[in-house]
Amino acid sequence: MGNAERYAKADRDILAAMEKPGRAYLAGLAFTATLTVIGGILWIYQIRNGLGVAGYTHPVNWAIYITNFVFWVGIAHSGTLISAVLYLFRARYRTSFNRAAEAMTVFALMVAGLFPLIHLGRSWVFYYLLPYPNQRQLWVNFRSPLIWDVFAVGTYFTVSLVFFYVGMIPDFAIARRCKEGIRKRFYQVLSLGWKGTEREWRHYGMLYLFLAAFATPLVASVHSVVSWDFAMSVVPGWHTTIFAPYFVAGAIFSGTAMVITLVIPLRKAMNLHEYITDDHFESIAKIMLFTSLIVSYAYIVEFGLAWYGGNVFETGAFRYRALGDFRYLTWAMIFCNSLVPLSLFVKRLRRNTTCLLVVSLLVNVGMWLERFVIIVASLAHDYDPYVWGTYSPTYVEVGISLGSFGMFFTLYLLFVKNLPVLSITEIKEHL
């Protein structure tokens, strides 16, 4: 087969994903959309009745909503990691995942951004967080970690969106050629009239390089800032210097797990075995294993130093984590995040997609639990035994959380049918 045929085949194969949806797809979409609607209805219910319908009690005033926020921001991380960091490292296998991962980043951030608003209770005053002066010309408090969040997550969303879009411009030009009617118009506009002249490619290459270079430190900074929401306080179990790198590693860990979770079914459903090979999965499994080791290192250091320092509160917080009300969750978290990924040391298992899918699903669960344990267990038992308490979520919180998963997968399913799921141009470049 000559190159020209191979190029044409790549166009066909990848754009084939955008054909009329099948029954399974529609059923999936209906299911996720229903979850989203249920979540939305529960949110309205919570707005009408106040935060009392959530399970917040004193002293646990940060719980599932914040857990979800951290979880979704974490999921967003692998998108930039795969697109930007692997681009700078000239890793070929990035081509198989970058589009899916970038889309995931954008959608996860959209979902994540909702949770601070849900958590506010009075969601309609969210604009207090934005940097503008009040009537008496007092500005927001830039020393507050919550404001850092607004800047960090806002920047991250904007830059990810630009990165996602820029990567698709040449592919839109392909789509506009292959599609008809209204969709053709749609892609024509999105492609901005891209032709592929040498001048366009020259500037495009430089733009992509710079976006990657900007996005790479951004990956590290965003989850550091999220971790500082906790580490800046003096709550035992939260106030640790290792939090920033630990959260960043955890974010990349959960993000790669989510990419694997999404791309394995995608490859099967759309028959993309030729473009996403087992080698590619093996490489990404190695990143997952590597970040799992960092996360495990952080667990050991955290527990070890709580014991080493001999501080009553610090020791107490970690003893409570391991042996207290949330012990099952803690041990489940260690099992999922530290033990299960060790299986990826075996090459055969790294290349087995079923095994990878199971591991990645467990990692997703484990990372959600990690955030829950850190947030809730630390708040439940801080300094004064008189105000110790515990927490269990209500159906409203559970429903809204499930709704967030529904929203994420709905957006993802829509993406799969409307935008090119792989970077066609880059694949041709490597053919």
Binding site: P133, L138, F142, R143, F151, R177, G193, K195, R199, L211
Partner: protein, 145 residues
């Protein structure tokens, strides 16, 4: 404008391009359209390095300055001590300045790219001429394009 030369294979296209340059066709008159970025084209038709990088630098620098100026000046305009931190707390302000550096840098790079490659181009959007996966060389007449 002369007839476009259309090639299906990259190698043939590069050969002809080299030939054209050897024959002394001025570099400014040659236009090339490819389905993906071909690094060899850069070598055959050496142009200036893309100016997009200046936009990146300018954007990033203005982001840093804005970040620090914004936080420091607004804090000074109503000096209110919160949480026992100094009015001008540089460590937290650095975080804002960092975020804005990246934000302004990325956006200005993108705008620079659009400006330099003349996108979005209404003509290109409406145009029906498509070369698909072919590699194309256009040699323009003496006039500027």
């Amino acid at each position: 404008m002369a007839e476009p030369m259309v090639f299906r294979e990259k190698e043939r296209f590069l050969e002809s391009l080299r030939e054209l340059v050897r024959d002394g066709v001025p570099r400014e008159r040659i236009r090339v359209i490819t389905p993906f970025g071909v690094p060899e084209v850069e070598e055959i038709l050496p142009g200036k390095r893309s100016k997009v990088r200046f936009f990146a630098l300018l954007g990033a620098a203005s982001g840093t300055v804005t970040g620090f100026a914004f936080t420091i000046l607004t804090s000074l305009s109503w000096p209110l001590i919160v949480g026992g931190k100094p009015i001008v707390s540089l460590p937290p302000f650095l975080i804002i300045a960092f975020a804005l550096t990246i934000l302004f840098g990325a956006l200005s790079t993108f705008l620079g790219f659009l400006l330099l490659s003349r996108l979005p181009s209404p003509r290109g959007i409406r145009s029906e001429v498509e070369y698909g996966n072919a590699f194309v060389i256009l040699v323009e007449d003496g006039e500027r394009r």
